[in-house]
Amino acid sequence: MNLFAQAVQWILDPLNYVGVNAIPLRVFEHLAFTLVTLVIASAIAIPIGFFIGHTGRGRGLAVSVAGAFRAIPTLGLLTLVALWIGIGLGAPFVALTILAIPPILAGAYTGFEAIDRRTVDAARAVGMSEGQIVRGVEVPLGLPLLIGGIRSAALQVVATATLAAYIADIGLGRYLFTGLKTRDHAEMLGGSILVILLALALEGIFATIQRFVVPRGVISSRSKVVRVRSSRARPMVNSAVEKGTQ
């Protein structure tokens, strides 16, 4: 417990709020780096995921490539890229983008795949073009799963972004490395706590977004609000009730 008290003390120490190593600055760097990585990873993964989800083509390839990406050790990749392009932000950026792509890609195409085919066919039947189907039907319905994918990527990236400090003067990882190498465990734990808080905050934000992007028509828990059946009585065909109990 003593160590935790020291870590909290370290976080609250006014000395850690000034200069180049100030906590707010490091938190900002960490967050900015995480968000930029997520935006770039999304820009790569979402269009590919939508294409796979809409056409159903290339799914096997995407699954295996994304799976292989997940297996890459980030520190190893970081070192490899840094030996190629040099130290600085480039290498951690590449390594973290590769870390973030698989969950976002999976979120994008599973979001499309989870949509009832009859809904898509209905949209096609009423004369919507393929573009309209993607924009008006598949994207909104697939959004909760996509946001879920981004949420999972955000969690991984915000935690792993500490590695950026291995070769660049950026982010909360600086506290971890300095604390580790100079045996300043309060600093190390304090830095870790800040990373955890940041991760929890991002989780909260994405969980909220995920709730709000669910289209009104498909929220089962709010079925009271949505009209569940037509005001005119109609014979029920092929419904579960007629099929018998399950």
Binding site: D169, K181, T182
Partner: protein
């Protein structure tokens, strides 16, 4: 129904026990402290820094001791000096390959500069009770302020003080602990009036990333150990240190009372054979040929008839 409930209960139980165990682990103060083992007094604990060259020396010590009939417990790659020194002082490690000057500076920050023998003598008296030095090796692996050859030629750099001639911003790179050491950039500013533009962490201990950063010009100056094979091709140069900012750093085994005369003789024989050239060759086999410390140590011991 009953089984299902019991299964669930068992699951809850397992989770609860796991959580309690995990929390109990947290509660016992410093989670990184190693218990100083006093059991198995016949086993010698050999430690090493988180530095490949130091690990090779520790492996040589270990194998030589094992050949002499001792049982060895290897605790390698513990960390840097800040991390393991308390363990050594507490007697948790019996044999540790150290570097005379750096260890002296860690124990006595104001230690005076001097020759290799002066430093050795000063270190002997600075060591806490229960620890002693065996013979030092001829090999040394010193810290150095190192720049690229191109940078040195551009500004006619020869020694550390001449860095004051540099007109462009100087960025320092290296492990995080470099900022805290007695020869840190602040010390250079205080002593020679050299201004630095900033510090870039490169946490590979003067390894390939650091050398690349130096050659790319991402950093202008760094700390690379002088026995590093990176110096072999002449693309980087260590600046002279006439004021002995870095003390002579000869390899020396720091040992506890558990090391008896027989073991001491074995380690002294190793130190006697460990010359500067040998150390550079051993390091090159690790960093250029990617051989394991284990194999390098075995080969060298056979070669040196130890």
């Amino acid at each position: 129904m009953f089984t299902a409930n019991r299964g669930r209960l068992a699951l809850f139980g397992a989770v609860a026990v796991g959580a309690v165990v995990a929390l109990a682990g947290c509660a016992t103060g410093d989670p990184l402290a190693t218990g100083s083992g006093d059991s198995a007094s016949e086993t010698l604990i050999v430690g090493s820094q988180d530095y490949y060259s130091n690990e090779i020396i520790a492996e040589i010590y270990s194998q030589a001791l094992e050949d002499g009939g001792y049982t060895v417990d290897r605790q390698f790659r513990i960390g840097q000096r800040e991390v393991y020194l308390p363990d050594i002082e507490a007697g948790g490690i019996d044999v540790f390959p150290e570097y005379t000057g750096s260890l002296l500076q860690a124990l006595e920050p104001d230690a005076a500069a001097g020759t290799a023998d002066d430093v050795y003598t000063a270190l002997e008296s600075a060591l806490p009770d229960g620890l002693s030095l065996l013979d030092r090796a001829d090999a040394s692996d010193q810290n150095s302020w190192t720049v690229s050859k191109a940078f040195a030629e551009q500004y006619g750099l020869t020694d550390i003080a001449s860095l004051a001639n540099v007109t462009e911003p100087i960025t320092v790179g290296g492990n995080s602990e470099l900022e805290e050491r007695p020869y840190n950039p602040e010390a250079l500013t205080a002593k020679y009036g050299i201004e630095f533009a900033g510090f870039t962490p490169i946490e590979d201990g003067g390894g390939p990333l650091t050398v690349k950063a130096l050659l790319d010009g991402d950093i202008q100056i760094t700390n690379i150990y002088t026995a590093s094979p990176a110096f072999a091709d002449g693309s980087i140069v260590a600046l002279d240190d006439p004021d002995n900012l870095f003390l002579p750093d000869n390899v020396v085994p720091v040992v506890s009372d558990k090391v008896d005369d027989g073991a001491a003789d074995i380690l002294n024989a190793v130190s006697a054979a460990l010359t500067e050239d040998v150390l550079v060759t051993l390091n090159a086999r690790s960093s250029n040929d990617q051989e394991s410390a284990d194999k390098i140590a075995t080969d060298w011991l056979a070669e040196a008839n130890l």
